[in-house]
């Protein structure tokens, strides 16, 4: 699961302008059978998000919004059951969930006098049945379930994956009899920056001292890793010394270049943990 930069770029290359749907993912899986689904999904998601970030603005011009809304209205006017919104999103190369949000916002603006609050829209996206228009509700729902990169469903999945891995890590630590402080305990003590786990007694992994472990249920690509380094990992190092980051879905090998400096990357829970020798040899 640890990819070289070249391997990674090969995958990323395949993902240019691919809609974030099951089908795309299946194709990707066929193309790179040796990679795990989760890794591919994670990479896919990240690449897609980068793509969306780049194109976000152009879909949010008033003209674009208006044009999408008209196309939507036309579409559902012809056939309300057809996946109008999803196809529109795929056609303009935008995330279905986000397209749904644009249309929903526009729709609500048209029907109510005041512009809808964010929380209302979020709530409606989470639960399309709240949308006053039944057709739109269906269209929105279709978008959300078919979007594997954005949307409340995906957010929820991501959150769950993150949590699961934290629990997994906690179990592994307990099993290894390594005592630790978790994020909540650290916050309670007034720490300003809190990794997932701080080991009360440091260990060594592959010859490197580890004070803290951060679990990342994603693939570590350059972009996200640098953001994490800046916002989290170095801050942890600045306070607690060297530590370990586990990218459960793998990472780009070349990024693991700060080992000597105190940031160690792993794609799984390390196997060769050296603890402080309790028996005095």
């Amino acid at each position: 699961m640890i990819l070289t930069k070249a391997q990674y770029e090969e995958i990323a290359q395949c993902l240019v302008s691919v809609p974030p749907t099951r089908q795309s993912l299946r194709k990707l899986k066929q193309r790179f059978p040796s990679q795990s689904q989760a890794t591919l999904l994670s990479i896919f998601s990240q690449e897609y998000q980068k793509h969306i970030k780049r194109t976000h603005a152009k879909h949010h011009t008033p003209e674009a919004i208006e044009s999408y809304y008209q196309r939507y209205l036309n579409g559902v006017g012809k056939n309300g059951a057809a996946p109008v919104l999803l196809e529109l999103a795929n056609e303009v190369d935008y995330a279905p969930s986000l397209m749904a949000r644009i249309i929903l916002e526009r729709f609500l603006q048209g029907h109510e006098q005041t512009p809808p609050s964010k929380s209302v829209i979020n709530s409606m996206l989470r639960d399309p049945s709240q949308i006053p228009d039944g057709v739109l509700a269906n269209q929105v729902y279709q978008c959300i379930v078919n979007d594997c990169c954005y949307g409340p469903l995906v957010d929820c999945i991501k959150h769950a994956i993150g949590y699961e891995h934290e629990v997994l890590l906690r179990d592994l630590l307990l099993k290894k009899n390594l005592s630790f402080l978790d994020e909540d305990q650290l916050r309670a003590k007034g720490y300003d920056k809190t990794p997932d786990f701080i080991l009360q007694v440091p260990v060594a992994v592959e010859g490197h001292i580890i004070h803290w472990i951060e679990s990342k249920a994603s693939f570590g690509d350059e972009c996200s890793h640098h953001a994490y380094l800046h916002g989290q990992f170095w801050s942890y190092w600045n306070r607690f010394g060297p530590g370990l980051v586990i990218y459960w879905y793998g990472f780009i090998q070349e990024l693991d270049c700060n080992r000597e400096r105190g940031i160690l990357l792993k794609a799984s829970f390390p196997t060769d943990i050296v603890t402080l020798c309790h028996s005095t040899a």
């Binding site: 720490y191 300003d192 009360q200 440091p202 001292i209 004070h211 600045n238 010394g241 020798c277 005095t280």
Partner: protein
């Protein structure tokens, strides 16, 4: 000068001169020769500088290449690895230009000799002027009318030579000639080359100037930006220029050069990149070409003169009359390793033939002279040399010139090398570790607002980001700190608004500073910003580095000569640059507060923490830890003080002293108002008083080394300098009195002080000026007897870490090796095994190293108190463990040794054996058992440490942390104990066994032949037996002691006195106990008991014991007596370990007791004799001999007869003892007659 001359003429004995130099008390010098000297007393303080100048001058010809080999000029400089940086060149260049060419003299070649280019008499416009200037100065200084003859050159003594005519002769053309001469120019031959520029400031004009009450500011210097050529004009426009006597003016120029060179150095060296590349790179290619002129002891000219000067020079060094000991050593080693000498023209030699004894004659006329002189001085300085590190000693000992000139010194050096354990190695600095976040000080509760808390959070991250960036880039030449990080740092500092945030940040800054730079490796590993030192690489794990290493050895590194200006090596540079870039007065103020506080705290730390150990054994172990701790504290203090000095003097830091005296006065007036940032004078006084100078002075020196030019002029700091000077003078190395400072402690202080005196901002005249006042100084050592100064806290490692410039000596010697014998490969061959062995040992080290790292990391995020606790526990338990082993295992082994010894003594019989051999055999049997010490020690530490840790840590400590802390404590304690034990247990056992053996052998009494079997008491013995002394005389148990019995028997006695048979029995029982328990039994007591018991037996035999009881029965019953005799026999047989004088039983006196009894009772005696034979206590023949002797005595007639009968009876039936005994008993009722009948 006159003095030196008269010395050379042997007018004055050397010893007197040395005394004269050292003390200024003329009262003690009343001999006639010395009177001549005391006349010269005003010159006294000028003597040393003159001597130094003289030597430098004389040697100047050694290093430059002769005219025949002009192409090689740079080579000489390569041979001498002193700096040849730009500043030195500048000074040199200017000077050289001023001398019209005739005899080519390579300026570059001279450079290394002068520590500082500016120190030489720089811009003297010509030889005559040079002399003139000096002459005038000297003339005025010699108010007594004695003008130094040297000053006038060929002039006779006693006539002051006004310098002005000479000055006017040469001045204008030379000044205008400035640009016309090439930089590496030539100097005129002068008259016989005597006008070489001096390398030292002659302080004479200074004192003169003082007497005119002109402050030193008259030596104005142009701003640093001035190019050398602009100098003369500055001089001319100087308001002082015309008012000064001519001598002063030339001096003034010299000063300017000096200042300039120094300030340039100062400016340049802190920026790590600039001067360094220059030093190493060109050298290796050239050293190969270099052939050193062989030096031959047989070709030394004027041996006596050289010896004499060497002696005086050495005495000056020994008395600390020179400012910098190591500088002088460096100079001497330069002489030793000089490559070749400027070919002296024959005419020179001839012209000076006539005046061999005068100073006009060159002292060093050949390389042979130089080497001879150097070796002479080295011989005198052997003690100092022997304390240098192993590497230097090795190089010295291997120096073939040294071997050739003084095999004796070489032998001593070799011995010192072999005995030296002072391997100075520099640890590769660990990569930066961040200061850990401690909730107690760092969480929200410590901040005034959420905003402050979050601001600080960001600042911490920015600080480390900046640090990381610096780590990545600072070695790139194109990278610039200010450009790269300056704006980010200022932006961050700008966010610090609340004072409390400042203090938080300063705390972080200071902690990080200590963490990164405090470890010896952190600062020392990259000395003066260099790449890792040669020694660093020895431990390197790559064979590929060997090549690099080799190159480095051939091209020795230079780290700024033996007196580099203060710098910020390694990561210190980051902190310096950070302070500079931040340029925040808030920050600086908080930083100064914090640094001062920490300095005070560390300076006041109780060191040593433990009482000097009572037993030399494990106290030795304590001292290792003590020394390590001292080193940590000292290095931290030095670091903090350095930064405090840097920040404190930062606002005043200029390149130049103020140009005019008015300006200076006003500055002085202003500055004297400012209270010192830290009361260093008080701290210094305290340090001296409490005999902790070895801790206080090194950091004080660091602090002062950043002082600006004005500081030494301020009264407050002047008094500090005076104190330091006095201290310097008092640290005479050869004096090693009781309670004096330890040698290496002194050496450290001398090194740092010597370095301080050479710092550019410290006025060079300070040292010699204060000279006169120094004598009155006495270190008041009344306060504390256990001051740190007398504790050997400094080792070579610390010395070299604090004073990396001492390493220059080694580099100088190494450069010699590389030039002369490097290609033979001796060096590389010797290094290779080291490298390979370290390769082999590597895997082991890493797994251990990882554990050590883990332990270190464990403490990192825990409160500091946890670490202190664990270390304390480990330290104490480890120490106790050794004591425990000593009390158990070693004590047992000693017991075993005693019994083994007894067996051996018995086996070997009376003649015993050689004690040394005995000891050897015992030790070889017992020492293997020492291995158990490790197991037992480990067990002890495992048992004791956890409880102690548990008791000392707070209860809320998490279980995992607690158990780790316990385990680390166990591990540390075990390591401490076991490393000591494994290194020392054999020696300890040996020592104890040896003590026991010698105790035992001594205990055998005065006759060494009387070694009889001896045993210790049995294991179960609890030593409750009656004391032998009580038995003999004092025991009052039942009013019965041996002495009582004996005295009662011997009478006179009162009728009612007597002993009961029971008491007698008890007495014998006690005697048995006492003999079996050897605890309190001294040999004389045992001998005495033996004698008494024999007497008792005789009394019993003679029935002379007065028995208490009914008046009818005064006699002891037969059965009783026999029982008592049996007891005695068994005591003699089994319990006495010393000889029992049984033959006394048959002494005429004791047998005579029988004669007095009526009727005589022979049966008991016969019984006793037979038992003695039976029990093998006495031989048959021995008894016969005794009986035979008895016959010869005078006895009453009947007694003789009875005695003969006894004799016959004894002889008659030697083999039929039992029946005979019975017969005796049967005969009891009428014993007298029975005997008679038989």
């Amino acid at each position: 000068a006159a003095v030196l001359e008269s010395l050379l003429r042997e007018e004055v004995p050397v010893a007197a001169a040395v005394r004269w130099i050292a003390r200024s008390t003329p009262s003690s010098e009343d001999s006639s020769e010395v009177a001549a000297l005391s006349a010269l007393r005003p010159l006294r303080k000028e003597f040393v500088p003159f001597l130094l100048n003289f030597l430098r001058e004389q040697s100047s010809r050694v290093l430059p290449q002769g005219p025949s080999t002009p192409a090689k000029t740079p080579v000489a400089s390569a041979a001498l690895p002193a700096r040849q940086g730009a500043p030195a060149r500048g000074g040199r260049g200017a000077r050289s230009q001023l001398f019209p060419a005739a005899e080519p003299l390579s300026a570059a070649a001279e450079a290394p000799l002068a520590r500082r280019a500016g120190r030489r008499r720089g811009p003297g416009p010509g030889p005559s002027r040079e002399r003139g200037g000096r002459g005038s100065g000297a003339a005025e200084e010699g108010a007594s009318g004695e003008s130094p003859p040297w000053a006038g050159g060929r002039k006779p003594k006693g006539s002051g030579s006004p310098g002005s005519p000479r000055l006017s002769l040469s001045d204008p053309p030379n000044l205008s000639n400035l640009e016309e001469f090439p930089p590496v120019g030539t100097v005129p031959p002068g008259s016989a080359g005597r006008t070489k520029p001096s390398r030292r400031i002659n302080p004479t004009p200074v004192s003169e100037e003082r007497s005119l009450s002109k402050p030193k500011t008259c030596f104005t210097s142009p701003p640093i930006s001035c190019v050398p050529s602009s100098q003369p004009s500055t001089l001319d426009t100087s308001p002082w220029g015309l008012g000064l006597p001519p001598g002063c003016r030339s001096l003034q120029e010299e000063r300017e050069m000096l200042r300039k060179a120094r300030t340039k150095q100062l400016q340049q060296s802190p920026t790590p990149a600039s001067p360094i590349p220059e030093s190493g790179s060109p050298v290796p290619s050239r050293t190969g070409n270099l052939t050193a002129e062989p030096a031959d002891p047989a070709r030394v000219s004027s041996r006596q003169r050289l010896e004499l000067v060497a002696l005086i020079y050495s005495s000056c060094i020994a008395e600390n009359l020179v400012p910098n000991l190591f500088l002088e050593l460096f100079f001497v080693l330069q002489l030793l390793t000089a490559r070749r000498m400027v070919a002296t023209k024959d005419s020179d030699l001839e012209s000076s033939q006539g005046a061999l004894d005068s100073l006009d004659t060159p002292l060093f006329r050949s390389i042979h002279d130089c080497v001879f002189f150097a070796v002479q001085v080295l011989e005198h300085q052997f003690q100092v040399l022997s304390y240098l590190d192993k590497g230097t000693l090795k190089l010295l000992a291997e120096n073939e010139r040294l071997l050739c000139f003084s095999p004796a010194l070489q032998g001593r050096l070799r011995a010192a090398y072999e005995g030296s354990v002072a391997k100075v190695s520099l640890v590769i600095p660990p990569s930066a570790q961040a200061v850990s976040f401690q909730p107690e000080t760092d969480n929200r509760a410590n901040f005034s607002s959420d905003r402050a808390f979050h601001t600080f959070k960001k600042q911490r991250d920015v600080f480390y980001e900046v640090l990381r960036e610096w780590e990545d880039h600072h070695e790139e030449p194109s990278w610039d700190f200010e450009k790269g990080l300056g704006s980010r740092i200022r932006a961050m500092m700008g966010q610090l608004s609340a004072a409390c945030s400042h203090s938080h940040f300063v705390r972080l800054f200071q902690k990080q500073l200590l963490q990164m730079c405090q470890s010896p490796g952190g600062a020392g590993g990259s000395v003066l910003g260099e790449a890792p030192d040669v020694l660093n690489m020895l431990g390197a794990d790559k064979l590929g580095r060997l090549r690099q290493l080799q190159e480095r050895l051939i091209a020795p590194q230079s780290s700024g000569g033996p007196c580099p200006p203060p710098t910020f090596p390694g990561c210190q540079g980051f902190f310096r640059d950070f302070i500079m870039s931040a340029s925040s007065f808030h920050f600086n103020q908080h930083l100064m507060d914090s640094l001062s506080l920490k300095i005070r705290e560390l300076n006041g730390l109780r060191l040593p923490q433990h009482e000097p150990g009572d037993e030399d054994g494990e106290s030795d172990m304590d001292w290792q830890g003590e020394r390590r701790q001292f080193a940590v504290v000292l290095l931290s203090l030095r670091l903090l003080a350095k930064f405090l000095g840097f920040v404190a003097f930062l606002p005043y830091r200029g390149h130049e002293p103020p140009p005019t005296r008015e300006l200076q006065d006003s500055i002085l007036a202003l500055r004297s108002q400012v209270p010192p940032v830290l009361d260093i004078r008080a701290l210094l006084q305290q340090g001296l008083w409490a005999r902790r100078a070895v801790l206080t002075v090194p950091w004080l020196v660091e602090f002062l080394s950043f002082a600006d030019h004005i500081v030494p002029l301020l009264d407050y700091y002047r008094s500090v300098f005076t104190l330091l000077l006095r201290l310097h003078r008092s640290l005479v190395l050869s004096k090693e009195n009781e309670g004096e400072m330890c040698f290496l402690n002194k050496l450290l202080l001398l090194a740092v002080l010597g370095w301080l005196f050479q710092i550019p901002t410290v006025p060079e005249d300070l040292f010699f000026l204060e000279d006169g006042q120094v004598d009155a100084f006495e270190v008041t050592t009344t306060a504390s007897e256990h001051g740190l100064d007398s504790v050997p806290v400094v080792d070579q490692q610390l010395l070299y870490t604090c004073c990396p410039y001492i390493g220059e000596l080694r580099k100088l010697l190494a450069s010699w090796v590389s030039g002369s014998s490097g290609r033979s490969g001796g060096f590389v061959r010797k290094i290779t095994p080291t490298t390979t062995s370290s390769l082999g040992a590597l895997p082991l080290q890493t797994s251990q190293g990882l554990q050590a790292q883990l332990a270190e990391a464990f403490f990192h995020n825990q409160p500091p108190s946890l670490r202190r606790t664990v270390e304390f526990v480990a330290e104490r338990i480890g120490s106790n463990c050794v004591k425990h082993i000593k009390a158990t295992l070693v004590a047992d082994l000693v017991h075993q040794a005693e019994s083994l010894l007894q067996e051996q003594l018995v086996a070997r019989g009376q003649e015993g054996g050689d004690p040394a051999q005995l000891l050897e055999s015992l030790c070889s049997q017992l020492c293997p058992h020492g291995a158990q010490a490790l197991t037992q020690g480990r067990e002890f530490c495992q048992r004791k440490s956890p409880t102690a840790v548990r008791a000392l840590l707070p209860e809320e400590t998490p279980a995992a942390v607690l158990s780790s802390a316990e385990n680390i404590a166990v591990g540390l304690a075990t390591e401490k104990a076991c490393s000591w034990l494994s290194a020392n247990i054999t020696a300890l056992i040996r020592r104890e066994v040896k003590a026991a053996v010698s105790r035992m052998l001594r205990a055998q009494g005065p006759e060494p032949t009387a070694r009889v079997e001896r045993r210790g008491c049995s294991r179960a013995c609890e030593h409750h037996a009656p004391l032998p002394s009580h038995l003999i005389s004092e025991i009052k148990f039942h009013h019965c002691s041996l002495q009582d019995v004996l005295s009662l028997a011997a009478g006179p006695r009162d009728p009612e006195e007597g002993v009961s048979p029971e008491h007698l029995e008890q007495l014998l029982n006690q005697m048995g106990q006492s003999l079996r328990c050897r605890q309190f039994l001294c040999p004389t007591a045992e001998q005495h008991l033996a004698k008494c018991s024999v007497e008792l037996a005789s009394l019993l035999v003679a029935d002379q014991i007065p028995i208490l009881g009914p008046p009818t029965q005064h006699r002891l019953e037969r059965g009783h007596a026999r029982r008592l005799l049996h007891m005695l026999l068994s005591l003699w047989k089994d319990d006495f370990q010393g000889p029992v004088p049984l033959q006394l039983l048959l002494s005429p006196r004791n047998v005579g007791l029988l004669a007095d009894t009526r009727p005589r009772e022979w049966d008991l005696l016969l019984f006793l004799l037979r038992e003695l034979v039976e029990k093998d206590l006495m031989g048959h023949l021995e008894i016969e001999a005794c009986l035979g002797r008895l016959n010869e005595a005078q006895w009453p007639g009947d007694f003789s007869e009875e005695l003969s009968t006894l004799f016959r009876l004894f002889l008659a039936e030697p083999h039929l003892l039992e029946p005979q005994l019975r017969a005796c008993e049967l005969m009891q009722p009428n014993r007298g007659t029975v005997l008679a009948q038989s």
